[in-house]
Amino acid sequence: MRFAREHAVIGAALLTSLALSALLGESVLSLYVLLLLTAIVTVGVSVLMGHAGQVSLGQGAFYACGAYAAGILSTNGVPTLIGLCAAPVAAAALAAAIGIPLLLLRGHHLAFATLAMHIIFLSLIGELREVTGGDIGLQGIPRLDLFVVELDSPRDYAFLSSIALFCVIVLLRNILGSRPGRALRALSSSEVAAASSGIPVGRYKLAVFTLSAGIAGLAGGIYTFYLGYLAPGSFPVMLSIQYVVMAAVGGMGTVSGGVVGSALVLLTVDALSRVATLSGMPSVAPIIASYAVYAVLLVSAVLFLPEGLVPFVGRLWSRRARARSPEHADAPAEGASVSR
């Protein structure tokens, strides 16, 4: 029954997102597409951090990798749909290639190593001018052609991103509730006990790292066709940090926390940067404002809501529900479900 209710919630969320895609005005539509793409990446980061105990500060590079894979292929005559499919594959392949040595390291080392990878990736894009367009950028990327329909307006990409986010959420929830997902959740609780239960800990960490990279790559691929133009400046290191902040604020390990966290952070940053760009503000105000949002949100999440927003609200909610119906006092606690 819980499963049916989860399906209803996810289905309702998809319908809401499709409705928003149809109804939102042109002026906010681009922000909405960005929000959906960010949520896709953050959901993957959240699962990686919450269920494999790893912090990746290189998720922006996987996003960029997917974007450039799709962009380079489709500017060289490959059908755009194949370009889009190649985006997650390329990002996952990059993650697998570097994950094997990286996953021998752990904790902060993995964070630093992925951060370094992001920086190296950016400079590679800048250097390989022939292929990537260098710092000037990759131009003339065609629109995504799905044979029956060509996606050429921001609204089309809002629909596409809504569906992509929906698919990612469904896939992740299916995984988390099953054998490989239990293995991941187990090893984030005790690696020793997981290993002696027959779980190859290193391989599972590599798998979830690769999976989260593939998800980031998919979002990057959509971004490419949406924007039609790519430059290394679109993928600053701050992007990687932003995903981690969003996952932490929303609630690590929870799929819906990834969505809530990205929405909260992105909308706050956007609102503040609007204020900061009002006339009379100093020219550095927008940058300072956005950095301040990340810092303040992260610090307050760590201090006041270490579990994240969604698990916190979920607990309040179930406590209230229990208080109202004492006969259900020993019902399974919130968190018993992998859903959330």
């Binding site: 054998r179 239990r182 002696s196």
Partner: protein, 255 residues
């Protein structure tokens, strides 16, 4: 079933386990006794593959498994219940035990993401296995409860259930009865006997000497990392070295 040859492991120059030799047969319940720091837990970690030895070898069904990591040893049939609690937090009892049965299914990320028929079938079987094992250790009614909320004694039972779910041929129990109440102890003793009759080779570290001598087929006594004595419970009771070094004098030895 399980053979240990000349197994040694040092920490900072001091032997925690020294030249240990051990042979446990199918269906044998082997008690392991020894004072704190004798090297009992270290011996188990070496057998389960959590630690690697400085020298020596571990054999399962006659084959050396020294090159296998802990996960491969679990697949090969070795299960362990740790001395300190290592339950999986944030997961229900059923999920905890299903993790124990990990090697009994094979579907991976793709099958799970797409909910293939094989995935559904395996998940049903895993859940049924978990529920049966939970019943066996007396946690039957609580399968949907979060493991975090269990009192200590039941956490031990949960660890036992998780180990049993793998249908192991060798079971390592590191003080599994500590923290159990009287009723739970009796159930635990009954479970041990049932497992023995199923042919599981059991190594059982236990501080309650009376309980071990009444149940075990044979007993190994460790002291300062080495085997001090090995034999049937009555031999161990009569062993002068054991009485002197471990049991602390004849009056504390068991009647």
């Amino acid at each position: 079933m399980l053979g240990v040859e000349g197994l040694s492991r040092r920490f900072g120059g001091i032997y925690a386990v020294r030249e240990v030799r051990l042979q446990v047969e199918q269906g044998e319940l082997r008690g392991v006794l020894g004072p704190n720091g004798a090297g009992k837990s270290t011996l188990f970690h070496l057998i389960a593959g959590q630690l690697s030895p400085d020298s020596g070898s571990v054999r399962l069904r006659g084959e050396a498994i020294d090159r296998l990591g802990p996960a491969r040893r679990a697949e090969a049939g070795i299960a362990i219940v740790y001395q300190n609690d290592r339950i999986f937090r944030g997961m229900t009892l059923r999920e905890n035990v299903m993790v124990g049965a990990h090697s009994r299914a094979s579907h991976g990320f793709f099958a799970a993401a797409l909910r293939t028929p094989r995935f559904r079938k395996e998940e049903r079987e895993l859940a049924a296995t978990a529920d049966a094992v939970l019943d066996e250790v007396g946690l039957g009614g609580q399968a949907d409860q979060l493991a975090d909320s269990l009192p200590l004694g039941q956490q031990r039972s949960l660890q036992l259930a998780r180990a049993l779910a793998a249908a192991p041929s060798v079971l390592l129990l590191d003080e599994p009865a500590s923290g159990l109440r009287t009723g739970e102890r009796q159930r635990f003793a009954a479970t041990l006997q049932k497992l023995r009759s199923r042919g599981v080779a059991i190594l059982w570290i236990e501080h309650d000497v009376r309980l071990v001598t009444s149940l075990a087929d044979r007993i190994t006594v460790l002291d300062l990392g080495s085997v001090l004595a090995e034999g049937t419970p009555s031999e161990i009771r009569a062993h002068p070295g054991v009485i002197a070094a471990y049991l602390g004098g004849p009056e504390e030895a068991l009647d």
